[in-house]
Symmetry: C2
Subunit: 429 residues, 2 copies
């Protein structure tokens, strides 16, 4: 049987070769079986995969050791080496993640809405799997099981393309996922791992039209830029988080201090950490020295008005305000009012998460209405913009684009919706 993928290639699309073609054909062939499987079976596969990650820990850690050895020799930095490192505890966390996803409600088959037309047609929109989800990611091998687990739960086949540095680890993890699928009678081809890690293959991966129904890039801005420039398959963007906290004139300054400290320092290396603090001019004298003291250990750079209050701050350039530091550095600016804060965020924000601290209702309403971001927060830390924290169960990423999914992407972001229309012989006049 020729698949639609082959038909598409036949129609003039680029024809992938070698491993990509094989994995793509296997995933395309497997997708309908996964889509039609009951959630009981898929959940069983996820739990079993978790068990295998723990039972086969020695073999997986041995593979990870080979990756680490190669990475050290090639001079990978300490942060990257840490991200690459697996351990019994990390494998247990990956297994726990799979079991947690198994417990989430099945999104497939949900009736989103429905109605009857005047001519008697019965219309409903039903949640269905996307088909084949492609995930391209950087050097954290836990993404292999996290992403595959979410994709399978939502009834999809998944094609994974991790980094070369984590290759042996990813192969070891993917083998356990495939074994679990086979054990419950689902096609192992529903989890495909691309082991050709050169750039040409990455670009060809992004162009698997007719195979990949949705591409999810998980990585830094270089990866996102490559996807934007080269992808011909549909994709969601998991972009930068240049997040702001604006402390309004009407803020409770003690609350503001806790929120700013939390947003900046609780985990500075993640996308929902704060990178810029904006302070209303009327509270700058009271708040800036206080927050500077509370943020001891954080490098502060400020605009002229902030430095006039706290002269120990270094000067902030325009580039500072445009940068997602992902470390203990914070840009500080003083603004005239909430409108100026909104304008600053419109200029420098990346549409991720933006917070205001205020007790004034009209100011809060204006901020939440006018700030154009995936998430706007009032009197809460930006760190809450996360699938688990918001109650979505688990997340495949945080979308900073506006189509399909925006903000933390849970299982429904890995599904589509189909119109089902039932009649009794209706024809159109």
């Amino acid at each position: 049987m020729t698949t639609r993928a082959e038909t598409t290639a036949h129609r003039g699309g680029p024809s992938p070769t070698g491993q990509l073609a094989l994995l793509g054909a296997a995933a395309t062939a497997a997708a309908p079986a996964v889509a039609r499987s009951s959630s009981l079976v898929r959940d069983q596969a996820l739990r079993l995969a978790g068990d295998l990650l723990e039972a086969d820990a020695a073999a997986i850690l041995e593979a990870n050791g080979r990756d680490l050895e190669r990475a050290s020799a090639s001079g990978l930095d300490a942060t990257a080496l840490d991200r690459l490192t697996l351990s019994d505890a990390r494998l247990a966390a990956m297994a726990a993640g799979l079991r947690q996803v198994a417990q989430l409600p099945d999104p497939v088959g949900q009736v989103v809405d429905g109605w009857v037309r005047p001519n008697g047609l019965r219309v409903r929109r039903v949640r269905v799997p996307l088909g084949v989800v492609g995930v391209i990611y950087e050097n954290r091998p836990n993404v292999t099981s996290d992403a595959a687990g979410l994709c399978l739960k939502a009834g999809n086949a998944v094609l994974l393309r991790g980094s070369s540095s984590a290759l042996a680890s990813n192969v070891a993890v993917a083998e356990r996922l495939r074994a679990a699928l086979a054990h419950v009678g689902l096609p192992p081809g529903a989890v495909g791992l691309v082991t050709e890690t050169d750039r040409e293959t990455a670009v060809a991966f992004m162009q698997l039209r007719g195979v990949i129904d949705c591409l999810v890039p998980r990585g830094g801005s270089d990866l996102i830029a490559t996807v934007r420039d080269h992808a011909t398959v549909p994709y969601v963007e998991d972009g930068d988080g240049n997040c702001h906290v604006y402390v309004d004139r009407a803020a409770d300054l003690e609350m503001a201090e806790h929120i700013v400290v939390n947003a900046k320092t609780q985990r500075p290396g993640v996308c929902n950490a704060a990178e810029t603090l904006l302070v209303h001019r009327d509270v700058a004298d009271a708040f800036l020295p206080r927050i500077a003291a509370a943020l001891a250990g954080v490098e502060l750079v400020g605009d002229e008005r902030a430095r006039a209050v706290v002269p120990t701050m270094g000067p902030a350039t325009t580039a500072d305000f445009a940068t997602e530091f992902l470390r203990l550095r914070l840009a500080v600016g003083v603004v005239d009012d909430v409108g100026a804060a909104i304008d600053h965020i419109a200029r420098f924000g990346t549409g991720h998460s933006e917070a205001i601290v205020t007790m004034d209702l009209p100011t809060a309403t204006r901020f939440t209405t006018e700030v154009d971001a995936a998430a706007v927060l009032v009197n809460a830390s930006t760190r809450f913009v996360d699938g688990e924290e918001l109650g979505l169960g688990a997340e495949i990423g945080i979308s900073t684009q506006k189509l399909h999914a925006r903000g933390p992407m849970g299982l429904t972001a890995l599904t589509s919706v189909r119109f089902v229309i039932e009649g009794d012989g209706q024809v159109r006049r």
Copy 2:
């Protein structure tokens, strides 16, 4: 004030020049005002634009006359000329369309869902405009008002790029839309018409990152292919409709006849018309001669098994089954069972609209569950897959991709969703 668009350009994106840059800046600047405007004001603008299309009919038809003269001289075919032609009746229909959109419920501000987290955070998801919608379309000038009306209703600014053949007509229509915006106090820059109609400008239009939040292509497969290959802005796909009707063994053959005739002939030039008829082998002898008679005037091409029953049919090639004819030609195949019909559709379908005629419940359920298309129909004509027919009010297109919007796209497809998270000082542990 530097806009995010300029920041993006500054960050290394392509910097559009000339008209595109000006229109893009105007639309970006106008978008927040449209987003914040009340639906009362936007609806007033839409009704007024409708009034102006009728009041200024003479001037618009004069401009259209110039387009038609130029198009005739350049040898445009009769179908294209007809699509390009405006008349008092067509302007009245465009005006009525704007007034109808004005009457639809406002999607902006709808609370999609909401909940409270255990830590007291109040989470809700609110429907918001996309921002700036780009529409690139071919030679029908009515799209100028139809598309702009829907985009404005959903709180967006819109950038329009029509074809060179309709340039004067599009300018004349867009002028009335801009005048209506100005009259109600909204920025006329919220409707921008690109008058540079060369291919380079079209490609640059598809790459207006930081300006266009969603690109909607309205046109043939060449346009869609250009978008796939060149767009770097997010887009939805309004793809081909190679639609099938499968007549099952358990079909009421009289109902099947009405549905097939309607799906093929009621308006053969549109994407939800049927292009292939599949018939279960057990009813082929009874149904094929009957439908061949009912489809007098339609050119039938069949596979060997269909031709064995109706020898007057021409032979159907694989290409016939893969083609969206958009005219009075129908490919006919005989299949062994519903599974073979589903396989045929998986191979040749474009994911648009697929119908089954059957009285057997398990067969209908299998078809609606396993056929992967934007819309699946049971005992109804494919021609119903249309925004107005399904009750969505009006449509900006029919999406054949699976992300963001699938099937007929109404106003909600022109919106995004934002998380609004309210707390009382919560920080993350």
